[in-house]
Amino acid sequence: MLIKLAIKQLLREWRSGELQVLFLSIIIAVAAISSVSFFTDRVNQALLHQANELLGADVVLKGDREFSEFYYAQAEKFDLKTVRQVTFPTMVLANDENQMVWLNAVDENFPLRGNVGITHELFKPEQKAEKFLERGKVWVEPAIVSSLGLNIGDVLQLGMKEFVIDAIITTEPGRAGGFFNIAPRVIMHVNDVAATQLIQPGSRVRYGLLVAGDDKAVQAFRDVVNNKDEEGILVQGVQDARPDIRAALTRAEQFLGLAALTSLMLSGVAVALSARRFTQRHLDHCAIMRCVGATQSLISRLYLCQLLILGFIASLLGVIVGYFAHEVLVELLGSIAGVELPAAGVKPIVFGLVTGVAILVGFALPPVMALKKVPALRVLKRDLGNMNTSNVVSYAFGIGALVVIMIWQAGDLKIGLYMVLGALLAIVLLGLCGFGLLTLIGLFKNKFRNAWFYGLRNLVRRPATSVVQIVAFGVGIMALLILTLIRGDLLNQWQQSIPHDAPNRFVINIHPDQVQDIQSLFRASNIDLPEFYPMVRARVVEINGQKASADNFEDSQAKQMLSRELNLSWALHVAEKNELIEGKWWDDEDPNLEYISIEESVAKHLNLSLGDVVRFKVADQYFHGKVASIRKVDWGSFRANFYVLAKPGLLEGFPATYMSPFFLDESQYSFLNNLVSQFPNITIIDVATVLSHARNIIRQVSLAVEYVFLFTLMAGVMVLFAGIQSTHDERMLENAIVRTLGGRKKQMLQTLLSEFLFLGFLAGLIGAIFATIIAAIISHYVLQMSASFNVSLWFYGLFVGAVGVSVMGMWGSKKVLSQPPLVTLKKVSLTN
C-alpha cells in the first residue's frame, strides 16, 4: 500500500515538473560514473580472464640473459610446454628504405595460449595461423608493409640476413596494445636470430621463457623459480600479467574517475538545491497530510520510498546512458588492452545504481525527512514550520556518501582520501575565489542604476547560490580549457622550445669496433660529427651491502629500476644540460675510480644519498661505485642523458656499446639507409616518431577525459537550473510586482540576462584563472619551461562562460518572463 501510494504521489509530483532537475542530475551523475566504470571493468576483465592470451602463456619469465638449461629442465619435469623468446628493437631494410621495428623471435611452439591471427593481404579478414613460420620467413605488422611498400613474398633485411614476408600479423598474443608500441613488430623463428648477427655484447635484448600447462604444475614451476630467486628475472603470471597495461589502466581509471566524480559532486549540489526547494514546496503538503491523518512515520516512509523509487529509476536510466556512452571511451582508449574486450559485467551496473541512489538519498533525504516535523498547525498559521533546510549538517550525509563513493571508485583508501582532500581543497579554493570576485563586484552594485546592473545586484543578494553556480561552471570551464586549449598550447610550446638543430635521431647498439667507421661515414656524408657515448648495461644488485630486490620497494618506479638493466656511461666532465644538485664532480687527482654520479629520480626512488655504495652487475661481473654527486637532468634536451655516470676507468673492461644523438636534415635521409645497410646491427630511433606517438596518446587520453568532462558540464547546467528553480518563486513575484508597477518586459529581460551574463562571466573568469595556474604548474614542473600567458584562453573562458550560462539561464527561466503578472499575484494571494 505504501509503495503504491508513493508511486502515485511520485507520478503527481513528476507532472508538476519539480522533479525533473533532481531526476536529470542523477541520470548525468550515474551516466558519467558508469561510463567510466563500464570501460575500466571491461579492460580489467580482459586483464583477468584473457591474461594468458595477453601473455601468450600461463607464466612468462623475462630477463636480460638467455635462460639457463635449469629452467627448461624444470619445465620439462613438470610436464610444461615452453617457448624460447628473444625480443629487441632493430632496423629493417627493404626497397632502400629503413624502419625501426620490434623483433619478437620465438620458437615453433608459440603461442602457448591464444592464437596468432594473420592475413595474406592488407586489411583483409584475419585467419588463425595454423602452423608456425618456416625458417627464413617472417610475419610483419601492417605498418611495415605499408611504410616500406612491401607485399607478401617480398624480401626484407634484418641484420645480416634476408627474410621473406610470409604474412601480415593481425593478432599477436603477448603483444601490448597500440598504446605501448613505438615500433611495429616482426615475428621470426628464434633459431634465425644468430644468422642476423644482431645480438652483440651490450645489446638491448630481452630474453623470455614462456611456459604453459596444468595449473598446479605451473604453480609448482613458479615456486621453483621463486625459490631460486635469480637476480634480474621477472616472473609474470596470469594475476600479474602486463604491469605496464595495469599501470596505464590505473592511471586512466584515476583521470577518468576524477572527471566522473566531478560530475557526481556537481550533481550532488544540484540534488541538494532541488531537494531544498522540494522540501519548501512541500511544507503545506505535509501539514495537510498531517491534518487529515498522516502520522510522522507514514510521512517519513512515504518520502523515503519516493526517493528510493526515483533514485532507482534515474540511476537505471543513468546506467543505460552510461553503457552507450562508454562505447566512445572504448573507441578512444580500447586499444590499451591489446585484446578484444569482453562484454561488461554486472559490477558497473551495481556501482551505478548504488551511486545514484546514494547521492539522491544522501543529499535529498535530510531536508526531505525534515518534512515530517512540519507542524499540522501550519494549516491555520502559515508562518509555522518554515525550516532552514540548508545547514551544513544536513549535507554531511551527502558529503559522506560522496566520500565513500570516491574511495570505492579509487579502489584504494589512501588514493581515495587524497582525491577527497584534493577535491575539497579545489572546491574551497574555487569557492573562495568566487566569493571574493562576487564581493568585489558587489562593491559597485549601487554605482549603476540601469537594468543591466540589476542582474548584478541579484547575484550579490544571493551569495551562496551564486557562488555554488559560479564554482559549478568554473570547474567545467576550467577542465575544458585545460584539456583543449592548454593541452595543445603546452605541447606546441614545448616542441618549439626544442632547438631547431636538436638531435632528431638516436643511433644505438653501436659496437665499439664500429665507432670509427661510423664516424667516417658521418664525415663522408658531410654531416656534423656527433658525440658518441659509451653505454654499459648494468643492474643494481646491492645498496650499502644490502640486497636490492624489487620486492623490498613499494614504489613502482623503484621496482622498475631494479628489475631491469640501467644504461650507464662515463664522463670526464659534467655533461651539457646536467646540473649538479648535490655532492661534487670527481677530479683527476684522486686516484680512486669507484665514484658514480646519479640522476635525481634514481636517488629519490631508490633512497640513495651521497656516500651510499651501489653494487652493479654486468653480465656475470660485478663492480661498485660510491655516490659522489646527484644530478638534475633536462630530459627534454634530447641529448644523451644517463641515470648513472661513472668516473672514467671504472667501467673499463665491461662490454659496452655506443650511442649517438644527431641532427639529420630530412634532405639527407638516404644517409640512414647507408648507415643501416653498412651496419645492420645498429638501431636508429626517430625522435619525431616517438614524439608523435606520445602526442597521439596524450590526444587520445585527453579526448577521453574531455568527453567525461562533458558530463561535468551537463551537471553544471543542472546546478544552474536547480539554482534558478530554487529562486523561481522569488523571481516570479519580483517580476510580477515590477511589471505591475510599470516595469517593461524588456527591462525584466535585461535584468535577467545581465544576471546570467555576470554569472557566466565570473565562472569563465574563475575557469580561466585556475586553468592558467594549472598550466603554469605543468609548464614549470613537468615541462620545465617558463609559463606563458595565453590570451585566447581568457577570451574563450569568458566567452564560453557568459554565452553558455546566459543561453541556459534564459531558457531555464523563460516561464518567469512569459507568465502574466496577475497569474503570479493571484497564486501568491491564494497560498498566503
Partner: protein
C-alpha cells in the same frame, strides 16, 4: 443550554493556553468549558485576535493546550501522542479552511482522494468522484486549483473534508476569502451536506450570517468563551 440531545461528542474541560511573550505571559485561552453533542452545528464567533483559531487548533489536536482536556468520544486527545492524534483526525475529523489549503500540484479529484489514500480506504477514486459530484464539480475533476475560482476551490475543500465521512467537521472562516454571494452558496452546501451526513459541525467565523445558521453560538473574546442564548 439544551442538553436533551444524544451523547456528548466533544467535551472541553478547563482549557487554557498561555504563551510567553517579551512583555510577560500572554493568555490566549482561559478556562474554557463546553460540550458539543452529535449532529449539532456550533459557531464560535469573535473579533480578530480573540483566540478563535487557537481554540480550533487545539480542539483538532493540531496544537497543545497549557492545561485542560479535550475529550472526543470519551477519549482525551492529549493522552495520545502526536501520531495518535493524526490518526484520530484522519478517522473522525474533516477540515475546511479560509485559504482552502488545496495542494496546487494535485487535480481537484486528487485533492479529494488524498485523505482516502492516507487511510488506505477502498474505492478511493469512486468515492472521491461521488463527493465531487455532490459539490457539483465532477466536470472539473481534472482541473488544478489554479484553474478553479475561489468558490470552486472551497467546494473541492468541502468535498475533501466530507470524503472520509467525518464525525465532526471543523471549519475556520470558510467564507472568509469569498465574496458574499459565493460565500452564501458555500454555506448552503456546507449545511446541506452536514445534514445529509449527520455530521457535527464546529465552525469559527466572524460572519454573523453564517453563525446564525448554527444551532448554537459561542462568543470568544480575550480568550474567554461564553455561550450565547440563541433561540434558533
Amino acid at each position: 443550554m439544551t442538553e436533551t440531545k444524544s451523547n456528548p461528542l466533544l467535551v472541553v474541560n478547563k482549557l487554557n493556553k498561555k504563551v510567553a511573550s517579551p512583555t510577560g505571559e500572554l493568555v490566549l485561552l482561559e478556562d474554557i468549558d463546553f460540550t458539543i453533542y452529535s449532529s449539532e452545528s456550533v459557531a464560535i464567533i469573535g473579533p480578530s485576535g480573540a483566540g478563535k483559531s487557537t481554540l480550533l487548533g487545539i480542539l483538532a489536536g493540531l496544537d497543545l493546550p497549557s492545561n485542560g482536556e479535550v475529550i472526543l468520544e470519551e477519549e482525551n486527545i492529549f493522552n495520545m501522542d502526536e501520531d495518535g492524534r493524526a490518526q484520530l483526525r484522519g478517522r473522525m475529523m474533516g477540515f475546511v479552511f479560509q485559504s482552502f489549503q488545496l495542494l496546487p500540484s494535485l487535480t481537484a479529484l486528487e485533492n479529494v482522494m488524498l485523505p482516502l489514500e492516507l487511510l488506505a480506504l477502498n474505492d478511493q477514486r469512486e468515492t472521491a468522484k461521488q463527493v465531487l459530484e455532490r459539490v457539483g464539480l465532477l466536470d472539473r475533476a481534472g482541473h488544478y486549483p489554479r484553474q478553479l475560482s475561489g468558490g470552486e476551490q472551497q467546494r473541492v475543500a468541502i468535498a475533501r473534508a466530507f470524503a472520509v465521512k467525518p464525525k465532526i467537521l471543523l471549519a475556520d472562516e470558510p467564507t472568509g476569502n469569498l465574496d458574499k454571494k459565493t460565500g452564501e452558496k458555500i454555506i448552503e452546501l456546507l449545511f446541506s451536506l452536514n445534514e445529509e451526513e449527520n455530521t457535527t459541525l464546529l465552525l469559527v467565523t466572524h460572519d454573523t450570517y453564517l453563525a446564525d445558521r448554527c444551532q448554537r453560538q459561542f462568543h470568544i473574546d480575550g480568550g474567554c468563551l461564553t455561550e450565547l442564548n440563541h433561540a434558533n
